[in-house]
Every structure is written in structure tokens, then in C-alpha cells.
């Protein structure tokens, strides 16, 4: 009841100046995501450029565990589904369900990052570090950058949950949830490319 009263006391939204007819925040988010494409494009290009150029092992085939990484990929895909379900709940002004789906998304994200930490630790024990060879350098930089992005996304999700719990989100929370969702889905689409380029393609046997 108190939560409803607190929501009722706040304005539903505040209009903002624009020269495009589009919300500035959303436009800026898409511009940011476009620039992120260039960042990850450069990192993926570097990985492919130096693929097979390592003079010493361990090589990808020595350390990769495709079934394990496939499970991680399923977890991240599932987190995208829970994210859109959080948005659907936010659009229906169902704050409780929205918080639950946001927490589920954050939990799945943490599972993915935990899996990545385990994988990195395992690779390190196998003798692969950032400075071992070109494969180690390009692999850890690319997947490490992605892991940092997922971690930032988790912090954003937990912030949303915290703000919602303390009634600091607007009465209609769909817009902030959509903005965080855009970032989260972007992290997912980047992983879709990394999973194929880094993990699956090297697994293909040569002619």
C-alpha cells in the first residue's frame, strides 16, 4: 500500500527537450552500442588475425571444453529471455514480477561470469596465461573485456532492483528497464559472435 502511495506521489515521467522526436537517452544508448560494435569488432579481428600464429602451446584444442562453454552460452541466452520478461512486467507496471525477473537475469549473469572465472582459472593451471603466447593474449583480452561488460550489466540490473525496492524508479519503470535491457542484450549478441568465432570454428577439423 505504502509502495503504491509512494508511486502515486511521483510524476509518471518528465518530458525532455529533443530535436529528433526521439528520447535522447535511448538515442545515446544506441549510439553507444554502435561504438561498442567497433570495440568488439577490433578485438575479434585481432583474435582471428593471430589465430594459429602461436609458436608455443597450449593451443585452443588443448584447453577448450566446448560442452562446458555451450552450457554457459545457454545460460546467457536464458538471461536475455528473463530480461525481456522483466520489461514485459515493467510495461504492465507489475513491480514485484519485474524485480523477480531482473534478479533472475542478474543471477544468470553471475552464473555466466562465475563459469568464465572457473574457465580462466582452469586455463591458467593448464599453462595458458595472458603472456604465454598470441592465443593467450588475444583470447584473454577478448573474453575478459566481454566478462567485464557482463559484470557491469549485473551491477546495472542490481541497481535497478535496489532503486525499485526503495521507490526511486519512475512510476512507469519501463523506460529505465528497457535501457538496461538494451545493454544486456548487446552483451548477449557479442557473445553469440565470440562463441562461434573463438570456440566453435577452431573446433572444425582442417581439410
Amino acid at each position: 500500500m505504502a509502495e503504491t502511495a509512494a508511486h502515486a506521489a511521483r510524476p509518471a515521467h518528465v518530458e525532455e527537450h529533443t530535436s529528433t522526436g526521439l528520447p535522447n537517452t535511448k538515442l545515446a544508448m544506441w549510439l553507444f552500442l554502435g561504438s561498442e560494435c567497433l570495440l568488439f569488432g577490433a578485438l575479434i579481428t585481432t583474435y582471428v588475425l593471430y589465430r594459429g600464429a602461436s609458436q608455443t602451446g597450449p593451443y585452443p584444442s588443448d584447453v577448450f571444453d566446448i560442452p562446458y562453454t555451450s552450457v554457459s552460452s545457454f545460460v546467457l541466452l536464458a538471461s536475455s529471455v528473463t530480461m525481456v520478461l522483466a520489461l514485459t512486467a515493467a510495461e504492465k507496471l507489475d513491480h514485484v514480477r519485474m524485480r523477480l525477473w531482473l534478479l533472475a537475469t542478474a543471477f544468470l549473469g553471475m552464473t555466466f561470469v562465475g563459469g568464465q572465472v572457473y574457465e580462466f582459472t582452469h586455463f591458467y593451471r593448464e599453462g595458458l596465461s595472458l603472456s604465454t603466447n598470441l592465443f593467450g593474449t588475444t583470447f584473454f583480452v577478448l573474453t575478459g573485456f566481454h566478462g567485464v561488460h557482463v559484470t557491469v550489466g549485473i551491477l546495472m540490473l542490481l541497481s535497478l532492483v535496489g532503486m525499485s525496492s526503495t521507490n526511486r524508479l519512475p512510476d512507469d519503470p519501463a523506460f529505465p528497464v528497457e535501457m538496461v535491457g538494451l545493454y544486456w542484450h548487446f552483451v548477449d549478441v557479442v557473445w553469440i559472435v565470440i562463441f562461434t568465432v573463438v570456440y566453435l570454428i577452431p573446433n572444425a577439423p582442417p581439410k
Partner: protein
């Protein structure tokens, strides 16, 4: 009605935008059921990708399949989950700017270093 009038009508005389608006949404966002359906398609495609990598198909064919499935998954997430299919096309243009830039960078660098000829 001139183009300028249409634009003024869209953004209002004050040049204000409601932050909740998504520009010029062509269609409403999908339902929860549709999201789950897309999620299931993504899961099936991921399983197919993993199967393909172990299938023993010729190397070139395998890589083509993997790239195609990856592109389909990428498009499904961008179009449905990120709502590019439903929102104002200007958002897509911003995203495509970065995406095309990344693809051009990829091709230019790899062609310059003759990676495809290895």
C-alpha cells in the same frame, strides 16, 4: 502537409519528447509468449551450432553454416529482444553504423594480412 510540418507534429511544437516513447513505434512490443518462442528458437540454433562443430562436415561448409546460424541468432536478438523490428528505424541506423564499421574493419584487416589465403 510539408515535411517540416510532419516533423513538428511528430516532436511537438515545444520540441519535447516523452522518454517513455520509443520514437515512432511501428508495432507494439511482443508478448511474453513470443519472447519465450524466440528464446526456444535461439536454444535450438545454439544446439545446432554445437552439433555442426562436431559433425565432420567439410571445413568450408561447416564454417559457412556456423556463420549463418550465428547471424540468424544475432538478428533474432537484435530485432525482437532489442526491439529494432518494432521501434523507430533511426535506432537501427545508429546500430548499423557501428556494425557495418566493425565488419569493414574485420574484412580490411584480414584481407590486408591475407588471412583468408592461409
Amino acid at each position: 502537409m510539408s515535411e517540416h510540418d510532419t516533423f513538428r507534429e511528430e516532436i511537438g511544437e515545444e520540441g519535447l519528447a516523452d522518454p517513455r516513447e520509443t520514437g515512432r513505434p511501428h508495432r507494439p512490443h511482443p508478448s511474453a509468449k513470443e519472447y519465450i518462442r524466440i528464446g526456444m528458437i535461439l536454444a535450438v540454433l545454439t544446439s545446432l551450432e554445437v552439433w555442426t562443430s562436431y559433425s565432420g562436415l567439410p571445413h568450408g561448409l561447416m564454417i559457412t553454416f556456423l556463420w549463418v546460424m550465428s547471424a540468424i541468432k544475432f538478428s533474432l536478438v537484435a530485432l525482437w529482444f532489442m526491439h529494432l523490428r518494432f521501434d523507430d528505424p533511426r535506432y537501427s541506423r545508429f546500430f548499423m553504423l557501428g556494425l557495418v564499421g566493425a565488419c569493414v574493419l574485420y574484412l580490411l584487416v584480414l584481407l590486408s594480412f591475407r588471412v583468408f589465403a592461409r
